[in-house]
Symmetry: C2
């Protein structure tokens, strides 16, 4: 399997499904549906959906039935980006080289487009759950995704991040809290959702959870490194913004070499966790190796 | 049964349950939990929860098991108020005589507190669904509540309302769209949630849906009338704001007398719909009669 091709193919599948599942841009009130489409189709890598589907395969199941669940995860991720970019939060004008949602549609519609993506994600999850005989597993997945997106997960991470910005904090506990919550929680829920719906046993779910946590850690450290060494053109945003915003990062706290070592260590631990799984783990391994070489 | 006492008792039950279900204000990150509590406990009448519980009784079931579902509806309602009050939306400094969420906690935290209440509502619904043998009915209720809160429901109403404000529109279709979506959809979902979980048959569900739609209509017209004739002190906000904001309202479009007639008509139709129900419909009747005499 070739990494680039695999990621492209899976992303294309998810894109197609998102287009089918989401309310059309022609649907009244058009403006809100256009705003939702604008950010969902703004060049996201579909990492969370790809992780969800790959987790189902790692348990030995076909990933196809879980594509709508993967789409719901991407909608929640997109909602979080729209709200994070708002003037009252990180106040970003660009994301992935495109104007942010509020810059195009105005703040009011951007807030509502985020709200709508979050709400619609749960509608999709519930509808799929109703159609599927495994009702209870879908309820568990809805609960876990909601918890991961909530104040003890993603929102909690954003609150602490907002609070710490500009304060030049160099607190390791704070760094770990922000990262495990702001980005880690949804990665973890994405992997667990695919695993739970695919019928993972307790031991398999444990291994995949460790994988997801280590993946999330390695992702975040490489994100911090990209802000130092990435190419602005590929990133679609200026580099060095973490330092400018006095954000606490791995390289700032531990230095670049140590941070790169942490990435390698996390990838190794994640790979070890995969060894006990019965299914097709090649995609998850590929995703791990994507991390140190990623450019966006 | 006495109306005032009934409403107070039910609201107290819901308040108590909300306090137990919601994350404590002492939980880290405290600020977001404090912001959530601030608006949830800012004097709401708990109408949506009360409607949900009364619908279960109208089908002949005990309302107690559905209190967490009723709480989830109130959290979604509160999220919508927090976001509606934001500067980018209606830009209100006061609600029910208290400073709005963003005035106390800042815009960033207010946006996140709204997000968190919406997210947590789905977590509560899913958790209750998992615990209950009627998994599929809970999934249906999650789907219906999400749809009612989404772009073809509440959010859609807010989008059109935002878009029409200040334009002095006198379009009946627009008035009906905004009202049935912005407030009507969640009333309808509240009643249907209680009815579905209580095991309402198709005919019973149909009657209660009609009840809910007529209730919502009468509620909205009395809301418009209160903006003209209410007491500012009781309302906790200045009267006449609809005219100032050039909002399309029933009295503006049809005059006061015709608007009052519409209220009476809607109440009569709602009462007729209740007659075919097997359970205890007294609470729903009381709620109807609350409408013309309401002062907040």
């Amino acid at each position: 399997m070739e990494l680039k091709k695999y990621l492209q193919e899976r992303a294309a599948l998810v894109d197609q499904a998102l287009l089918e599942i989401m309310p059309s841009q022609e649907l009244y009130p058009e403006k809100i549906h256009q705003a939702m489409h604008y950010s969902v189709f703004a060049g996201g890598k579909r990492l969370r959906p790809i992780l969800c589907l790959a987790a189902a395969e790692a348990v030995g199941k076909d990933f196809q039935p879980f594509i709508p669940v993967a789409c719901a995860l991407e909608m929640i991720h997109t909602y979080s980006l729209i709200h994070d970019d708002l003037p009252a939060m990180d106040n970003d004008d660009y994301r992935r080289g495109k104007l942010t949602n509020h810059k195009v549609f105005g703040e009011g519609i951007a807030i509502l487009a985020g709200d709508a993506l979050l709400t619609y994600a749960f509608e999709v999850l519930a509808r799929k759950g109703e159609e599927n005989p495994q009702n209870q597993k879908y309820l568990q997945v809805i609960r876990e995704i909601a918890a991961a997106a909530g104040t003890l997960g993603m929102i909690g991470g954003q609150v602490v991040d907002l609070d710490s910005e500009g304060k030049n904090l160099t607190d390791e506990k704070l760094l770990v809290y922000i990262h495990t919550h702001k980005t880690g929680a949804l990665f973890r829920a994405s992997v667990r959702a695919g695993a739970i719906l695919a019928g993972a046993g307790a031991e398999e779910l444990k291994c995949l959870t460790i994988f997801a946590e280590k993946f999330g850690l390695a992702f975040q450290i490489t994100d911090d490194l990209l802000d130092l060494f990435g190419e602005e053109e590929k990133l679609g945003k200026p580099i060095g913004s973490d330092a400018k915003n006095k954000k606490v990062t791995y390289p700032a706290l531990y230095g670049v070499e140590k941070s790169r070592f942490f990435v390698r260590e996390a990838i190794e631990e994640a790979e070890t966790a995969l060894q006990q799984l019965p299914g097709f783990t090649e995609p998850l391994k590929l995703l791990l190796h994507y991390l140190p070489e990623r450019q966006v």
